[in-house]
Amino acid sequence: MDDIKTVAKELLTSGKVNAVIGYIRYGNDKRTKPFIAQKPEDVDKFVINNFILNNLAVYLTRKEVSKLGKVAVIAKGCDAKAITALIQENQIKKEDIHVIGINCNGVTKDFDIDFNSENIAGKCLNCDVRTPKLCDSLVGALADIPSGEDLKLKMIRGVEAKNAEERWDYFEDEFNKCIKCYACRQACPLCYCEQCIVDKSIPRWIESSATKRGNFSWNLIRAFHLAGRCIGCNECERACPMDIPLSLLNRKMAMIAKDEFNYDAGTDMNAPTLVGSYDLKDNEDFIE
């Protein structure tokens, strides 16, 4: 299996791409940050380890990056799903990017913690895309990963078990923490709208104030706009400075999409999107 540096260097020197988006170590050994290499020698800083948390697909739709021309991007299995979803939604073209897939051995929940069964990210526990489905080159080798308990799923089940009133109270409290910094939106690879619904002011559908009402509506609509689109990279939750358990919403929506339509986001770049298509046999028990 090829080494990331060799692959990236080859892409840059041959001129196949103008830039490679990857990870470099930052600060201590348990932290990385995204980095855009434009010169072959920049590639030497690239690392692949258990702390490459960022989903680099978020950069592909950004104006500052698309200016660079054709880019290569390092993608874990979940990141490759995001790229697939972006292609599905016609935001990027397959031929404009080069995906360097990595055989992923799991990542941590956050930086600065050890990689072990306690700290492994929930999304890695039952991961079915440790080898990315969509990639132009593949690097790294698979190894055993620690197993752990999927706490978030347990939380979802916990919320489901509550009655409606308790659920409302729970989410009202959680959402009330929101400060409207929109880190969740900006960190999300699929939140690429040029103007977000919350920034639209004529009329103002979603209030920008961080009040209970504004927060509730914002988090509700964010979850809905990602329904059937969220690929579960969980970057929103990691980015949230107020520790709102956003995955409780996104994952629940993905579960609904699976139950209702047997749909998994980001698995087939040629498939129609979930809300962009329909089936005559869709469930309508709830409609009178």
């Binding site: 409606a164 009133e165 409302w168 979603i206 629940k252 609904i256 809300v275 089936d279």
Partner: protein, 148 residues
């Protein structure tokens, strides 16, 4: 906002071609239904964005009724199929967040179903009346309200 128990506020988002015409038919047929519904006509159920429903609740609606053409009858061929798929996701999300499912009602009412429209409105109004005002949403609305 007073006397909410007797007088719930209901917002109906209806499609221009079927339900609205159905409501018209109810009118011309002199059928009576409860007057709590404020109807908002849209070109198609496919145009009913979930933010409309959120906004309705924000502005104090106790119930929201969404209605359009039966499957297969859409004036634009597939608008209601798209809408249906969206509603499946949306009503499950609202339920998960703890918004009482019975405050949001979906129905198909065609242009010829004046009677069905009356029944739907009456049944839904009674249901919302029984539920009483939407206290939970009112609470978050009234944060920082004038005079405390």
């Amino acid at each position: 906002m007073e006397n909410k128990n007797q007088d719930p506020k209901i917002v109906a988002f209806v499609c221009n071609w079927c339900t609205y015409t159905g409501a018209d038919l109810a009118g011309t047929s002199r059928l009576k239904y409860q007057p709590n519904v404020r109807m908002i006509k849209l070109p198609c159920t496919g145009r009913i964005d979930p933010v409309f429903i959120i906004k309705a609740f924000e502005k104090g609606a106790d119930g929201v009724l969404v209605s359009g053409c039966h499957p297969g009858d859409c004036h634009y061929n597939a608008g209601n199929y798209h809408a249906r798929r969206r509603w499946i996701m949306f009503h499950k999300l609202l339920d998960y967040l703890g918004i009482d499912e019975s405050r949001l009602h979906f129905s198909w009412v065609s242009a010829s179903e004046g009677k069905k429209f009356v029944d739907v409105v009456n049944a839904f109004t009674n249901k919302v009346k029984a539920k009483g005002p939407f206290k939970k949403y009112e609470n978050i609305n009234k944060e920082f309200v004038i005079n405390g």
